[in-house]
Amino acid sequence: MNNGNTELFLFFSLLSLGTVVTRALPFLVFPENKKMPKYIKYLSDVLPYTTIGMLVVYCMKDVSLTTAPFALPEIISIAAITILHLIKKNTLLSIGIGTALYIILVNFVF
């Protein structure tokens, strides 16, 4: 893959611009207690939940259920993360153990 500096600059600048837009927009559109449109308010209420759902699936876009190892490392690690997180409620612990387990599974088990 070609990682030219011009391409990287454009790529990261676009991501930066997108981030700036989402962070600054509320303050630009609603300067002083101006009421925001109901539709925007509605989207800002529901999108955080929907987006994370989308991202969970996006992360596993290349996982195949029909070829070996049949998504088993993912299924086992996600189950472990879920159980650990429901019991311990410690974000870093859940992410750390879950990722370590996954690394062990894909490198040494499957």
């Binding site: 989402t22 609603f30 989207l43 994370i52 989308m54 699936v57 996006y58 490392p73 859940s94 690394i103």
Partner: protein
């Protein structure tokens, strides 16, 4: 004097973010470095994008080449939650003067959740207090990712599987969100639409259709959904 005491007061509040950002930042730096991205660009991304989940997604996006439109739209949709943070802080960030642009642009998930539950102690200027919390967190993130970039260049062995840190992060956020609300329809729409689009459009072309499907479905079910409280 005022500045120094605000910094000293702000620092202890940021310690949890320090550990989180250094660990997650290092993971990001290692992944970027394994993609052949130099320290300069890692630091550039962390200073100017400064959005953790988006930067992890950028690793995945970079691995498939430069698809600028998808990347930009993806940024808007992933960071759409920042609209919600901004809207929540319209009051809090009033009268911030020259600090306001930086405070607004550095409002990450972690800084938001930290400041949500934190008010400056008596005698400490709110502007300086919020500014130092935001700035310290920003520094932790940049330092963590650069550290990861250095580690990534030093580590010669395979880091196969490390990219799962992103999946783990989103699973944990998903669980936290799921527990925080009784209405699981928005989360379910996110998972369902994306799975359907992944099956229909294949693994490289499903993102934009997924985002379109999500906005469409959310718009169609707005009335019934609004009748139920989200929180």
């Amino acid at each position: 004097m005022k500045k120094h005491s605000a910094l000293r007061t702000a620092f202890p509040y940021t310690i949890p973010v320090l550990s989180g950002y250094v660990v997650l930042g290092a993971a990001f730096g290692i992944l970027m470095s394994k993609q052949g991205i130099s320290l300069f660009w890692i630091a550039f991304a962390s200073i100017f994008i400064y959005a953790g989940s988006m930067q992890f997604v950028a690793v995945a996006l970079l691995s498939t080449g430069f698809d600028y439109l998808s990347a930009f739209l993806m940024t808007l949709i992933i960071n759409a939650r920042h609209l919600f943070y901004g809207i929540s802080f319209l009051q809090k960030y009033k009268n911030m003067g020259k600090f306001k642009p930086y405070l607004v642009l550095s409002l990450t998930d972690e800084t938001f959740s930290l400041l949500c539950s934190t008010e400056p102690p008596d005698g400490i200027s709110a502007k300086w207090f919020y500014f130092y919390i935001s700035l310290l967190n920003h520094i932790y993130w940049v330092a963590g990712t650069v550290l990861g970039g250095i580690l990534g260049a030093l580590i010669k062995f395979d880091t196969k599987g490390l990219e799962f840190v992103l999946t783990a992060l989103f699973i944990v956020i998903f669980i936290d969100q799921w527990k925080s609300t009784k209405n699981h329809i928005p989360a379910t729409i996110g998972v369902f639409s994306t799975v359907v689009c992944r099956i229909l459009f294949g693994s490289s072309d499903f993102l934009i259709p997924s985002m379109a499907a999500i906005i469409l479905m959310l718009t169609l079910i707005r009335k019934p959904l609004e009748r139920r409280a989200i929180k």
